[in-house]
Symmetry: C2
Subunit: 229 residues, 2 copies
DNA sequence: TGACAAATGTGAACAGTGTTCACTAGTGTG
DNA sequence: CACACTAGTGAACACTGTTCACATTTGTCA
């Protein structure tokens, strides 16, 4: 009876071993210099053995992207609203968490997004993250903080901004970027503030810039619907 | 004497034949299902012959991305300012042209950006496009239309927005996006308007939305610095 | 014109890839 | 004990990118 459970656990254990080793080898050796045969040798199995656990190399990639997507979703939906927190603040913190995850885990972000649709199958992972974002926007609209326009339009525009800055920074690290925190703040503030009913004054004046306010900048906003500062 | 020129022309002709065929095969057969051998057969040569014109497969990819980048740069810097045109309008039109090129030539955009650094060598192509963008922003600042902050910060935030919406639309066409023109307009308007000294009223009110104003929306703005509407 | 040299293309080979398949060794069930 | 089933293997197949000795064309110059 429970021998089946034991076997399945063993099986999933080896699957995880394969996936973990694959991810490591993959991010280190690039993409193409990563081979099933070297992977097999690294885990001490024959190349053919892998096919008992995954039905192809692309299947492995699909599982990797699904994993990375789950982590991304989890990270960006892990922000919990404080009591009576401004929904705009929650929204901004969520986007910040999304970008921060991508920047701190560039391999995951690369695998999840920039792999070239090799694994766009399955339960459509991006949808879940997107739904969470839209829900937060809806809460901003309900609270009278945003214009009651199509929340899909707003969500997608914010997603575009967040993905743009993340993917550029992740994918072209050799470009002479300005300070990451400044750039991320600017992109998110621009994208979000443009949607607000009463856009708050942006700190764009000159030298009194916002330094060291990476994730906090959103949290210190007023907690209720307020007029412009 | 001129036999050398003739030879070089012939050589570059065959190089172009190889590149063109490679690009076609590449965008059709995916990336990995594209092989030097099938390419050789398609142009009627032996596989080994290709190595007289390119020193490796990656070299071919590098040339492809350079080509695509040149086209992207050319497209986005092809907008010429009309006499007395608002520099903000020029800026927006440039960004629109950038995004439009990416959407109308998704293969080029994919090759240029989303190929995974396989060809990040050479004279650093992205730099050129970026410099043009920054010059346009500088003109907005000089005209008193934008806050005189670090133009690199502004340029990079706009680039992030433009790249974000373009790459998402190009890379995940199966996602249920809203109308492309609406989304692109929203992203660009948000990103640019947030940087203006006197942000013009965005048409976000409700149902009187901006339809069929894809590239015109920027051009019909007031030509001089004006108060908010 | 004929000898030489350079350019151009080729077939065969090498090492490596993803994938399949007949096969063996081990394990729990009747 | 016999049976079915699982996990794993080595050999093979059809590929891949790349190299190299060789053949063929082509232009130059004595």
């Amino acid at each position: 009876m429970n021998i089946q459970r034991i076997r399945e656990e063993k099986k999933s254990e080896i699957r995880n071993l394969i996936l973990g080793t694959a991810r490591k080898s993959f991010v280190r050796e690039g993409y193409e210099n990563f081979s099933l045969r070297s992977l097999a040798q690294k885990i001490g199995y024959s190349p053919a053995a892998i096919y008992r656990y995954f039905k192809s190399k692309d299947d492995i990639f699909a599982c990797l992207t699904a994993e990375s997507f789950d982590l991304l979703i989890k990270a960006s939906s892990a922000v919990v609203p404080e009591p009576d927190e401004d929904p705009v603040s929650v929204l901004k913190r969520g986007i910040h968490a999304y970008v921060a995850f991508g920047l701190e885990n560039p391999d995951h972000y690369r695998i999840a997004f920039l792999l070239g649709g090799r694994a766009a199958k399955g339960p459509q992972r991006p949808r879940a993250a997107y739904e969470a974002l839209r829900a937060r926007i809806q809460r901003c609209i309900d609270g009278g903080r945003m214009f009651p326009v199509d929340p899909d339009l707003l969500a997608q525009s914010l997603w575009a901004a967040a993905h743009g800055v993340t993917s550029l920074l992740v994918q072209r690290p050799s470009f002479p970027w300005v300070a990451r925190s400044k750039l991320v703040d600017r992109v998110i503030d621009s994208a979000v503030n443009a949607l607000l009913v009463h856009p708050q004054a942006v700190s764009l004046g000159g030298e009194n810039d916002n330094r060291n306010v990476k994730k906090i900048s959103a949290a210190r906003n007023p907690k209720r619907v307020a007029g412009r500062a």
